[in-house]
Amino acid sequence: MIDSAMTETDIQLMFCGSAGDGTIAVGDIFKRAMAEAGFKVLAFDIYPPEIRGFGKCISRVRVTSRQAYSLKHQSDILVSLNDSYAIPHVSEVRDFGGVLYDQAPISAMAEGEHISGHLQPGQLPYGVSMREVSDQTTGGSKAKNIVALGFLAGLYDMQREPFHQIIRDKFKHKDPIISESNLLAFDTAYDEGVSTFRLDFIELGTPERQDIGSKVQMMTGNAAVVRGCLDAGLETFFGYPITPATSIMEDLATDLPMRGGRLLQTEDEISAIAATIGAGYAGARAATATSGPGLALMVEMLGLGVMAEVPSVIFCSQRGGPSTGMPTKTEQSDLHLAVFGGAGDAQRIVLAPTNVEGAYKCAGKAFEMAERYQTPVIVLLDLYLSNRYETVILPRQNPFEADSSKKRSHQERGVPYHRFSFTDDNVSPRTVPGEEGGIHTVTGLEHNELGRPNDQPDMHLKMSEKRHNKLLGALDHPGITIQKRFGDEGKVDVGILGWGSTFGEILEAMLVAQDEGISCSAMKVVMLSPLPLQPVQEFFSDCREILIPELNYEGQFANLVGSAISKPFTRLNRVPGVPMRVADILDEIRRLAAQVKSAA
């Protein structure tokens, strides 16, 4: 790192304070400034539980020159805006990392309450006159966070301009004096920072050149979903608020009508999915978004979507479960529900992106697939992916098909119209209300090709086959990665199979393991239903040991894999409510690698 001509950047900051300290806000200014400066950013905030209060906020921002896949467990710098909250996190600062805190917070602070007494040997204390400078420049203590930021920017010789711009933007709807005084606070602290001793262990390099021609954007997983929906031509959205999916609806509430689309906040999740399916039946691109408890309410209606072969797209951002669970914590435990939730044999398509860019891709492709295969498509996100920021490069050309449905002309369809005709690819040409010569009735009852109720053994068998087999087509759907292998090729000692947001941590762990000389490789599975069985089987054949790490207790993805593949593998399950530790995965990789070696 220090050897390379152009310094490679990899630095992680952590802001910690109470909800009132502007903790999330300052993290936000910082990550935007870094993205503006051309760095890659990956950021994730932790809020207090839903209800308003005085809980702890943490904003973590990782700034890199090359794409990072996850947050690091250890940050380089901790900025404390509230010592009592920040003290437990001192241990998460790396050796020779820095801790910024308010030099003279309030006179009454008792012994042991100040963070400076809690630093570990090797950690660098930076006492900043946060309150003081804030008072002097703005006449109050509210700008403490800006002071901390200014100091930091000065300390690392960052360009002032992006910061100025973003601060100005932030206050643009307020009295100009607020903006000015905050800029003053920033600059004052900046100068203090510049003149402060800096240890070279932490260094901000030069960002990579932006020669891709398109502006790099920084957005959350949920924002990427919104973009994906809009680019795919979403026409109607029906939703009911629930953490951590709410912001999808909130953003669409503003953006969708701008494009002539329609959004309705329904009375509950059952109506949300029902209306989505109604709109899908009527031929519109329609979607809803929810989390586990809402998905649980939707499964009866999803079954109707399966049986009546109506397209619909459901975004489900997972949080800690079961039940109301941990609304502001992340988990990957709604997979069972997404894949198996429904009476009868009710298979549907389930996709799970692994990062923000993937969220955009899956969101858009979900509409194509729903339409093409005439089925509900569930896109599984989780709080970590929904809320985390990443710099992403979105294609300049809209990558999504405007209409993917299988249609036939009136003549080709024949009379009477057989809505559920058996075809080679098991997909029947579909008409929508208003279309001439395509009149039909769909139903949740088993039915014949015309759509009339029919419960005879042969018909039920043929229709069951149709409903299941048509989904196999999705495994070859163009323009989307169904699964992908990374790392060493060919036969390896350890293979890590992963899904969803945890795949970032898996990749990071794999990279370290490779550096350590372990022969290993990781495969992400984006389509969880139907499973891309063949590639997974091949991966099993190629890997001496297989590890499946996921953020749930029961090993839900492992269960899916196990039910399809009769070979042993190792499960790694964690339920901390926060992203998995790269170190935990790495430990397992090492253990399995050692096992392979000792067996050899």
């Binding site: 009508p257 109604g278 519109a284 209300p433």
Partner: protein, 292 residues
């Protein structure tokens, strides 16, 4: 095949009505209802209304839940969606939001509407979704063979109320009035002319129309809402009833012993689609301002 005489009779009846010219929108499917069920005349009423309003069949979508009543879409030659028990209205709302040009009829039984579907009615009504909601009220669960429903009368004996129903029935008309439905009427299966006239009006109304149709279940109710009982009870709303007078409508709705049929209440106000269009206008306006 002597035992099959009755279905043949129904087929014949179907042919008869077809021949009469006005019922070309009946599908070729044989209604699976019991002979004598009140629902037959409702099919007639709907087909007559659609004919009268000269709506193209391809532009009609009939949405239903689950129950005998909800079998309805299969017997019309229009687009149809036989959905889930209780979910008629949200599905119908989705269809209408997706395509304003469609004439959407939503159909369900009393159980489908007021038991399992109860959460959705207030919202479809207050949003003024431009659909016609017809509830076929037989005061019983027909399809599942005779259990108590939310409109079963006090003292009614069913398989789930072997010691007589003790709970007051709901008052759907009053509820609809409290939900701000913009068109509220009542009719009954024993008066096909009135029925088709009311259905025509309900469909013609721009906004959420609620038509309550009293209809006997000849198989599972031999004592309560029978043809003869209904015939004796039902009366016309007085001619001088002012359908814009909500308080008067509320008063009539409370007369459950001699249920008045006719138009209770009617009000003209923006439909859901009107409002969604307005939002699009606002969004584009705002957008223009922001970028302009």
């Amino acid at each position: 095949m002597g035992n099959l005489r009755q279905p043949v009779y129904l087929e014949e009846k179907l042919e008869q009505v077809r021949e009469s010219g006005r019922l070309n929108i009946r599908s070729k499917a044989l209604p699976t209802w019991c002979p004598g069920c009140g629902y037959f005349s409702i099919v007639d009423g709907v087909t007559m209304a659609i004919n009268q309003l000269q709506i193209n069949q391809k532009d009609v979508t009939v949405v239903s839940g689950i129950g005998c009543a909800s079998r309805f879409p299969f017997f019309l030659d229009t687009y149809g969606f036989h959905t889930l028990h209780g979910r008629t209205l949200p599905v119908a709302t989705g269809i209408k939001v997706a395509n304003d040009d469609l004439t959407v009829l939503a159909i369900g039984g009393d159980g489908d509407a007021f038991a399992i579907g109860g959460a959705h009615i207030p919202h479809a009504a207050r949003r003024n979704v431009d659909i016609t909601y017809m509830v076929f009220d037989n005061g019983i669960y027909g399809l599942t063979k005779g259990q108590t429903s939310p409109t079963s009368v006090l003292g009614f004996t069913t398989s789930t109320s072997p010691y007589q129903n003790q709970d007051r029935p709901l008052n759907p008309l009053l509820m609809m009035l409290s939900y701000d439905a913009s068109w509220i009427g009542q009719s009954y299966a024993g008066d096909p002319r009135h029925l088709s006239e009311m259905i025509t009006q309900a469909i013609a109304h721009r906004g959420f129309s609620y038509l309550h149709i009293l209809s006997p279940c000849v198989t599972f109710d031999k004592t309560s809402k029978t043809y003869s009982n209904l015939k004796a009870q039902v009366r016309n709303l007085p001619d001088d009833h002012d359908s814009s007078d909500r308080m008067a409508a509320i008063g009539y709705s409370m007369d459950v012993d001699t249920p008045p049929i006719g138009l209770f209440y009617k009000e003209s106000r923006p439909t859901l689609s009107d409002k969604l269009d307005l939002i699009v206008d606002k969004a584009r306006g705002r957008n223009a301002r922001a970028s302009g």
